[in-house]
Symmetry: C2
Subunit: 400 residues, 2 copies
């Protein structure tokens, strides 16, 4: 029997009419003989509203209690969806993260899935045609409720698909993967297929369609992912193993990440312990760093990296703590930069890509502050004001 995991995000289940429409669609697929696992997020802005309400209660919310509060959002969605599905004759069963056996590790609000009880879900298909799993949530070894980090519901869906060895369809407001954000470059092309490798770069570089962790997970378990628009006939994009991509272009996409910030750190060069202490703290705080570079000059060691803008507050707290051990430490955070990345699995085999990028940026008088390269991408830090312009120009250069 064909089996699939389907994931619907918060805006796809934002109100009751949408939940009813999705239910009818799911019923059609069940009647065609499929078994489905449906992962849903909290309805619309529920999570944001719950978080906002907490500000009226305390200025110092603790993560454990917040996680417990937030999990009620998805629990309501799965209850509502199951009420409709059972009413229209689908044998559906709603499961919280805990009930689905989604065990997590890490901080309460930024947890990672460590294991899923696939056999538990498998057994439930004996008496049900459709399982509804609350996305974005799980429980830790202490039995406490946890929520996953950014893009958490996608990760839930891909992790379940990996455990069940079946494809995963992720439905959002956007129809699949484009060469770049269509809001910035309306002529952007939509791909029918893209490789895991390219998708991972696109995600990591801030294309925003799907979080890196989800793509990584699917790649590791060889689970094909479909990205499509909710209840739309428009064709979306399949993310497939690299060897299944037949025609390969040098450059497949340009990603623009505005949510990044940049930090420059200066510290006395004799403090060899410093970097080790810093990275331990970053790891404990689960702050991802990106585009690292380091130089030594007359002022000491100078070190810079980019990070997610949302981590700024935590990073400042962390550096102020570090200053107690390293009083000579100096740091400066810049949030008016953005990152433009050119991605293509064919890039490593083809020459001339880097020189074309340099020429495009120089011709347009766009200053860049840092460059990093990977096997299949090149990233540039530029002023936020130049980000969209650079993206459009690079799309034109590579005919995307």
């Amino acid at each position: 029997m064909k089996r699939s995991v389907l994931k619907f995000g918060g805006s796809s289940v934002a109100d009751f009419p949408k939940i009813k429409d999705i239910s009818l669609y799911l019923k059609e697929r069940i009647e065609k003989g499929e078994q489905l696992i449906v992962v849903v997020s909290a309805m619309g802005k529920t999570t944001d509203n719950l978080l906002a309400s907490v500000h009226d209660l305390t200025d110092n919310p603790n993560d454990k209690d917040l996680a417990m509060l937030l999990t009620t959002g998805e629990q309501q969605t799965i209850s509502f969806l199951s009420l409709v599905l059972n009413d229209i004759g689908v044998r559906a069963k709603p499961l919280t993260g805990y009930q689905a056996g989604i065990e997590t590790i890490g901080k309460h609000l930024k947890s990672k899935i460590s294991s899923i009880k696939g056999d538990l879900l498998e057994n439930l298909f004996e008496e049900h045609d459709l399982l509804i799993v609350a996305g974005f949530q799980g429980f830790n070894k202490e039995g406490e409720l946890t929520t996953l980090g950014r893009g958490g519901s996608d990760t839930t869906a891909v992790a379940i698909a990996s455990a069940m060895q079946c494809p995963c369809e992720i439905y959002t407001d956007v129809t699949g993967v484009y060469s770049t954000d269509p809001r910035i470059f309306p002529e952007a092309k939509r791909w029918d297929q893209i490789s895991f490798e390219e998708m991972m770069e696109m995600s990591a570089l801030g294309a925003g369609v799907l979080e890196t962790r989800s793509v990584e997970l699917a790649n590791n378990h060889n689970i094909p992912i479909y990205l499509g628009k909710t209840l739309s006939d428009e064709k979306g994009t399949w993310i497939v193993p690299n060897d299944q991509i037949l025609e390969r272009k040098a450059v497949t996409g340009v990603a623009l990440d505005k949510e990044m910030a940049h930090i420059t750190i200066t510290y006395p060069s004799h403090d060899r312990q410093f970097l080790s202490d810093l990275f331990k703290l970053l790891e404990d705080a689960e702050i991802n760093v990106d585009m690292i570079s380091q130089i030594q000059n007359q002022d000491g060691q100078q070190f810079s990296f980019t990070f997610k803008e949302s981590d700024e507050k935590e990073l400042i707290r962390l550096f102020n703590a570090l200053k107690e051990t390293y009083p000579d430490l100096y740091f400066k955070i810049e949030t008016t930069y953005c990152k433009v990345s050119v991605i293509g699995a064919g890039m490593r085999d083809m020459t001339g890509v880097a020189s074309k990028i340099f020429k495009t940026l120089l011709d347009a008088d766009i200053t860049f502050y840092q460059v990093t390269t990977s096997e299949i991408s090149v990233s540039y830090v530029v002023d936020e004001a130049n980000g969209e312009k650079a993206t459009r120009l690079l799309c034109q250069t590579f005919n995307l």
Copy 2:
């Protein structure tokens, strides 16, 4: 170390200012050296609102999904309360019904607590001063979320107090137990103490302060219960074992139950199987019957009982099903009656109570349709229009 269970109902935690006030009160008690378990309901009208919203989604909601939906209400309250308590320095831990190990049996929306993991709670006091438990909810053998029947949060509190062998304080909008509803008879007296036995009759007869099941449970485990007004200095009522009551009055209270309905059933007298079938169905549907009486006349067996008005729809469904087996069955439901009960543990030892009641009702021209007596109470079914009048007159008769 002194330990107590405290329960706050929905109106006591209806908004954030109330949650903050309760938190400060709890902190004071912790600082005096107590360990507390706090049981809370969903905030204000949350449960009603969730139920109402479901009507926009389906006309046939199933109990399992409804239970899963409703449990989010209390889960939000425990999260909010814990956020504030931890912020003001109380080592508090919120627990859902599942996490507190509250196992239940029976229907998903009318479950009964079958066991509580007292040692689990005991162990949590090693690192916490205060545990917050979501009332009204638990989980069944299948690991599904369930909600308790009416007055569920009270039962949660008393069951935990029983498991932990400590007193239980139940806070509501009303200050303790009165001889009758002060809204009907403003001169009603508030008791400092009342026996379990009397309280059980008061509850069973519809006094509405505390559900019978909770009082029964406390009586079985010899757990004293305090009924008081939330955050008020006014003295409430302690419910204590019978032998601790020193001064005993013949009559302690008059209860008025408007939420009752009355059914009269006629069936051919040769159908001996009928009553057995009927009671099996009532048991399966978990409908409580009360004030049963039976006579035989020329039309066959006539049988009547009273029941909770909220069970009317279910009862009609059940009788229509019965008619398929018993086509000669005839039934008539009357919802314009009410029940007035006179209660007193001293009643059995003292004469004259019944005659005083009869005289009071007859003098006032109040017709009664059915009478039942127990060891410590007498109940009369009268027209709803006469209910409050009868209550007031009986209070005057017995100087309550």
